[in-house]
Amino acid sequence: MAQTITFHFQPGTSFLHQMDPRCKIICLALVSLSTLKAVTAGLLLLTLLFAVLAWDADLPGKTIFFELRYFGLFLLVVFISNCLTQPGTPIYSLKGINITREGVVEGLFASWRLALIILMGLLFSVSTRPKDIRTAIEHLLAPIPFVPEKRIAVMMGLIVRFIPVILGTTREISDAQRARAIDQRKNPILRMSRLVLPVMRRTIGRSQRLADAMESRCFDENRPTPPLKMVRTDWQAITLAVFFHIILQSI
């Protein structure tokens, strides 16, 4: 069950829930961009922004911790690699490898930034219906020529829907093979192909049935894009995000 909670929409009525999904995507991009260059003051400000939004969206601290835990190792690797590679005043050295003061500081900043970006992404996905994300992307891609935005949107939806199904199939097949002692085979390539081929066969069969079912329900690639409407608060949010970005660039 744990995996199903990860980055999953939770209904609500907060400021973020009510924001237009397009506007949320733009703001998320702007804020992430601001984060990349920010140092102490900026990072504190962004953390505060996150805290306020998370509090407003009713995102419990436990969830935040839980989600970050998955990325914990990743954050640690970023921190350590910074510690070891930044040149500067060494504070500890072992067999020619130096941990520098600058490295520790830079490492802290890097993982702080990364954590913030992950958390902002979490806020976005917790407060936005998958379908709205899809619609927003369809709207944002529409003005770009030669990009089949409707097809991309449909594909995104199907991917979200079918990843758990395909994972389930994979688990089933791998269990069945382990029950017949595939673990005894030493050749990893053989073991891999024994798993991948049946999964692919099942997935292709399923995709044909899926196409039948979609056709039965009158699927038409040119279905109208659901309308979205930006209201005043959305424009205010974007203005604020731009403002924030400029300020953070200059401090």
């Binding site: 199903t4 999953h8 929409f9 209904p11 219906r129 998958p130 379908k131 899809r134 939806g157 199907l158 979200v160 829907r161 758990p164 199904v165 389930g168 399923r206 995709s207 049935r209 899926l210 039948d212 079912a213 979609m214 056709e215 039965s216 329900r217 009158c218 699927f219 038409d220 279905r223 109208p224 659901p226 309308p227």
Partner: protein
């Protein structure tokens, strides 16, 4: 009024022997028909003709007075099709989105879609799960979601292909309840199955198929006695009733 009319239908892959051979079938509005037959007897192929997923080379299929091949969209709206594998017919990221898929395709305005979806989910008892991703649903719930997805398009004929496969007992009961309710509302119901036990007492009419042909067609309790002859298990209740009557006659 015949809601389905199939005449001289033969479906054949190039160079192969026919999968459906000279099928003639008329269905009246409001009937509850079971189509039974061993695996490979052509039940699914026959059903797919009803909404034009397959179109046979020979013969004609009319739904509600119009040839299916002439207006596929109309046929697909009139004939709701529920497939054997619920998982591959659920397309939405959430329960709500999945039910909305059909009405959106039919071009309903967003407010109407919301209203229709909520009403349909309420009908099949899934309203509480409307924000859930479909993969966390149980087998019976997935099947009900598949039914809801079809009902939201307001079809008059509902076709179930092996609706009881892979379901536990509560799941079977949920689907049976749903079917009975739809039938009593006046929908025409067609069910393909090789387990007649699950439809005893619900169906008016039974069609037995073998190797692409309709071999028996008539009132359920008359035709059911031929079931074993064509590779379909005779329901225990029918069997014991027959034994009881034989004992009375003795």
């Amino acid at each position: 009024m015949n809601i389905i009319e199939i005449s001289n239908l033969t479906h054949q892959l190039i160079g192969g022997k026919p999968i459906l051979n000279n099928i003639n079938l008329t269905v009246e509005e409001g009937e509850f028909i079971v189509v039974a037959g061993a695996n490979g007897s052509g039940k699914s192929t026959l059903f797919k003709q009803l909404n034009g997923l397959l179109i046979a080379g020979k013969g004609q299929v009319k739904v509600d007075g119009v040839f299916v091949a002439d207006d596929l969209k109309r046929a697909r709206q009139k004939v709701g099709m529920i497939f054997q594998e619920a998982d591959s017919q659920i397309v939405g990221e959430t329960v709500f989105d999945d039910v909305a898929f059909g009405p959106e395709n039919l071009g309903l305005p967003a407010e109407d879609v919301g209203r229709v979806v909520n009403r349909t989910l309420d009908l099949v008892g899934l309203l509480d799960l409307k924000e859930s991703p479909p993969h966390i649903l149980s087998g019976g719930e997935k099947r009900r979601l598949a039914i809801a997805g079809v009902l939201a398009m307001a079809p008059r004929i509902i076709v179930f292909d092996e609706p009881f496969s892979n379901l536990d007992y509560p799941g079977i009961q949920q689907v049976q309840t749903q079917m009975a309710a739809l039938h009593s509302e006046g929908h025409t119901i067609l069910v393909a199955t090789h387990n007649l036990e699950t439809v005893v007492g619900m169906a008016d009419r039974l069609i037995l198929m073998q190797e692409g042909e309709i071999v028996k067609d008539g009132p359920f309790y008359e035709v059911v006695h031929f079931a074993e002859e064509f590779g379909v298990y005779l329901p225990q209740s029918v069997r014991s009733r027959g034994e009881f009557q034989a004992w009375l006659k003795r």
